[in-house]
Subunit: 128 residues, 4 copies
């Protein structure tokens, strides 16, 4: 999955850990990742969290996609900082699952993400 | 704001329209934007929507930041497609605002985003 | 469905309109519905919106349940006010659907709700 | 605050624990709390969680209101079950805070709630 995941490579996101219901993704905030306020674009913090979420919910050899995600931004990420997203499964039921992802920089948490996944058959086009 | 917004430039996001409480952002899905399912990474659709949201909530010459965002993914985005995110203010009160962003591809809507913003004084570090 | 829906009756919620992908629910804020700030408890505004959502997503004769819901509170609701929640389908795909519900009092919108539904087989226990 | 909180009394919600950044609320699912699927109305599970959230974010003697809340429903609540909502502060910054609330029945978790609060001056009308 990672070899084909070109967006991760473009953004320098590494998946450093995968276990059933768990994944950890990291990147370093580059100069081309900041927004007009000179802090890491919130969308890229989301992308890091969403990537950890995707690997956590595909960790059981099902094919799962993101259905709904939310994120609270609690502190800024800055250029040069290494940021880590840790995804943990919180609930599984029917074809859906709920995952929490904590996004942490050198000075502590900077965002809280929650995602709902949906398990699909292999041939259905995933939503994201 | 756009000139300093390096993340937008890295992702090829154009802000094509800004008016009070309104903004429109577009990009074309590149080959380096797909995930392991070969569709546009959900995080990059979020980033497009979040960018439209940011310009809409800064359209009143306040300095506003994203506090909480959520997104529902309803259809995939594919390589080569032009995707547009249209942000509209839904409510303003005290120092907070609520915005809806519709993300639309050539075949119709592909994601629905909602963001809550918070207006800050100019010198406070924004969260994202 | 309404006859068995005892929570609606307890709270004085009326379902005044149902059409495919659409529903409208109303209640009047009673004195026993306020919180410690003397305004309508946010949970009861959520309950009104969630009820409109439930009838909208069951309007197609599927059995659907709420999977994930979010709400932004934008203004208070006060005792004696008639409050209306209007639910509209925004997307349908696979077994899931996305619905927006606007909650409106006499002076305008007071909350924005968004729900993701999941269609189940008749015998599966719904989550809520 | 509790004495004036008539909605809690109407629903039989007890606030059994409050500490800085923490609160615990409980109720028992009554027969008049079920929806048309004969399980506890999701709105009332939300109301329980939202109440724990409200007491946790007012635990510091600020006056705080709910700005945005989301909930994932993971299992049903049934008549006669005692359900507990435990709210914990996850982040505080500027005038906003983020709280997680876990809603647990006799058989385990049934919903996950996350709320963003906003601290107001005493005379401003709260949103919910």
């Amino acid at each position: 999955m990672y070899a084909r995941d070109r967006a991760l490579q473009m953004l320098g996101i590494d998946i450093v850990d995968v276990a059933p219901g768990f994944a950890r993704a990291v990147f370093t905030v580059r100069e081309d990742m900041v927004n007009g306020h000179d802090v890491c674009h919130g969308g890229l913090l989301f992308t890091l969290a969403d990537s950890a979420f995707a690997y956590a919910c595909n960790s059981r050899n099902d094919s799962a996609v993101a259905l709904q995600c939310s994120i609270s931004f609690t502190a800024p990420g800055r250029v040069g900082e290494r940021v880590e997203a840790v995804a943990r499964e919180r609930a599984l039921g029917g074809r859906t699952g709920t995952y929490d992802v904590e996004v942490v920089g050198p000075s502590g948490p900077i965002a809280l993400f929650r995602g709902v996944s949906y398990r699909i058959a292999g041939t259905v086009a995933p939503a994201s």
